[in-house]
């Protein structure tokens, strides 16, 4: 059974001469234990796709089903709850709250969602893997861009979501860190049975993908490592 499915989704912004058809009949399925990679240049519709899949944007037509239920059948509150419980966003603009230490970023999740988050041990493992265990008492302003990105990844994983949507998760990282992040995402898919979807134009991730797609001018098609690299 798929974690989520996208059926015949179209997204049009604007009207008349200003109309832009961003997504064309997009179909997609993300399954547990799978790392799906969507490659494509800037402006190809990747971010719009991610916004629709995450329930942040309602498509012009088509449906997105998560856990067997369409977003159309869920209230705004239910969509919020779904994102909090089941979807982990790893965003390119990580925007950690500047007045919370790294430890407090996780405490905030505990305040909003007291149950179902990673155990203390599991969180420590994630922090160690990402190399940020010693940064718990630091504020985001005291971290480098790469460190902030890794904190944002840990923050997204902490609620233990079934689906992980990552938007350019390696944009601010060097090759050594990219390898660590890719391994982490791969482990989350394989060992923890998450459905991981990464949109990126970073070719260094191609070899790790279980499924590879290409987004071009709003059309999503299956791809191969040779084409995407």
């Amino acid at each position: 059974m798929s974690s989520f499915s996208v059926k015949n989704v179209n997204q049009i912004f604007g009207t008349g001469t200003a109309e832009v058809h961003v997504l064309h009949d997009v179909n997609f399925e993300a399954e547990p234990s799978t790392l799906s990679l969507i490659m494509g240049p800037s402006g190809s519709g990747k971010s719009t796709f991610l916004s629709i899949v995450g329930g942040l944007l309602t498509p012009t037509s088509g449906t997105v089903e998560v856990n067997g239920l369409s977003y159309n059948e869920r209230s705004k509150k239910e969509r919020d709850a779904l994102r909090l419980d089941s979807i982990g966003f790893v965003l390119q603009a990580y925007h950690l709250l500047p007045y919370l230490t790294v430890a407090d970023q996780f405490k905030l999740v505990d305040k909003i969602k007291p149950q179902g988050n990673l155990s203390r041990e599991a969180l420590t493992d994630v922090l160690e893997t990402l190399g940020i265990k010693d940064l718990l008492n630091k504020y985001p302003g005291e971290l480098s861009g790469g460190q902030q990105q890794r904190v944002a990844i840990a923050r997204a994983l902490y609620p233990d979501p079934a689906i992980i949507l990552a938007d350019e998760p390696t944009a601010a990282l060097d090759s050594a860190r990219v390898a660590i992040i890719v391994k982490l995402l791969k482990d989350l898919a394989v060992k923890h049975h998450k459905a991981v979807v990464v949109v990126t134009h970073d070719g260094r991730l191609v070899d790790s993908a279980d499924r590879l797609y290409e987004m071009k001018d709003g059309y999503l098609t299956k791809s191969t490592p040779e084409v995407s690299r």
Binding site: K46, S47, T48, L50, S51, G54, L56, L57, K77, D80, A81, L82, R83, L84, D85, I87, G88, F89, L91, Q92, A93, Y94, H95, L96, L97, P98, Y99, L100, D104, K107, L108, K111, I112, Y139, A156, D167, E168, A171
Partner: protein
């Protein structure tokens, strides 16, 4: 609350500036309120101490005791609930003291106003040219037995008692005998007093040329009383509105800076109510902190301020003003809420 506390802890300087602003506004409002209360009380202390409900004056006196003269016929028969009062402005003059403006109130020994005088020192007036005076005289160095002249009267008056909070129209009151009032006003025939005060709310004097007013009507017509109160109310009201605007502007700027972060939180499923709660609790925390410090400053001020400064620190009234400021801050804090609620999480996708 968690987010608000963490932000205040991290942004100490910025939060400190806002709190400092609220401290200054709160302190100013508290002091102005105390001053307004003090002045209002000093206008009416004497009248309030009589426990009078109704006051009869000459109908042509423009509801002003100082301008009123009542004849024996207009005064009529007085029961135990009524008392005759003679009022006139005087200047106390003594060689070793500076001149002091005061209000002379002549009383009859057998009437309730005289009998209910609550002295802090000495005894009531029993003879002509004896006075019971407000403690303001004490602050000017007068003692029991001190003597001074009133206006152009050649006779010396002797202080036989002190009474606290006896002020009328901000001037200290000197209580004496009715004959002395006549002497001070150079009355030989005709008027017997300025006003009849009654403890009976149903008292009415229908004599020709006399008119009965409620105590509040007389108080409201005290010279400058209404203008003074209106000015203070206007100033306090303006300060309240200014505090609202300041808090709203600060919170608006702070909130606008946080919107990208809030958008991420919304994308991650954090409900709007958490973010709204953080914004409101931040304003409450800042304002309450500011008000606590302002209250401390006010307490210190009340402690060290000279006794002759007309200020009254009424805790229920100041508490009400504090709550008013808090409500204003809440309203100010609500202004940026619309931006928080309508933050677009899509804006953070795609960098």
């Amino acid at each position: 609350m968690f987010l608000a506390l963490k932000e205040i802890k991290k942004e100490k300087f910025r939060s400190g500036l806002i709190v400092a602003m609220i401290v200054l506004i709160g302190y100013l409002i508290f002091i102005l309120t105390s001053l307004a209360l003090g002045l209002a009380q000093q206008n009416t202390d004497a009248i309030n101490s009589w426990d009078a409900k109704q006051i009869t004056l000459n109908s042509n006196a423009n509801v002003d005791m100082r301008q009123s003269f009542l004849t024996k016929k207009q005064v009529g028969h007085l029961s135990r609930q009524e008392a005759l009062i003679g009022e006139t402005s005087v200047v106390a003059k003594a060689k070793s003291h500076k001149q002091l403006s005061a209000v002379f109130l002549g009383l009859n020994n057998n009437q309730f106003v005289y009998q209910n005088l609550n002295l802090v020192d000495g005894h009531r007036v029993t003879n002509s040219h004896e006075l019971v005076v407000d403690t303001a005289f004490k602050q000017e160095g007068y003692k029991l037995g001190s003597q001074f002249k009133l206006n152009g009267d050649n006779h010396k008056y002797t202080i036989v008692g002190f009474i606290k909070n006896a002020k009328l129209n901000i001037a200290p009151v000197v209580y004496g005998q009715m004959n002395d009032w006549k002497s001070l006003r150079a009355i030989t025939v005709g008027p017997v007093g300025s006003a009849v005060v009654s403890r009976d709310a149903s008292y009415k004097n229908n004599a020709n040329g006399a008119k009965t007013y409620t105590k509040q009507q007389v108080v409201d017509k005290l010279p400058g009383y209404q203008a003074q109160n209106s000015t203070f109310i206007l100033m306090i009201g303006f300060l309240m509105v200014i505090s609202l605007i300041i808090i709203a502007v600060f919170l608006y700027i702070l909130t606008m800076q946080k919107l990208p972060n809030y958008a991420v939180l919304r994308a991650q499923g954090v409900p709007s109510k958490v973010l709204v709660g953080a914004t409101i609790s931040q304003s409450v925390l800042l304002v309450v902190s500011g008000l606590i410090v302002a209250t401390l400053f006010t307490v210190i001020t009340a402690w060290i301020i000279p006794a002759n400064v007309p200020m009254a620190f009424d805790i229920p009234v100041l508490g009400g003003v504090g709550v008013g400021l808090l409500v204003m801050a809440m309203i100010g804090g609500l202004i940026p809420i619309k931006s928080v609620v309508s933050v677009d999480p899509v804006s953070v996708i795609g960098g």
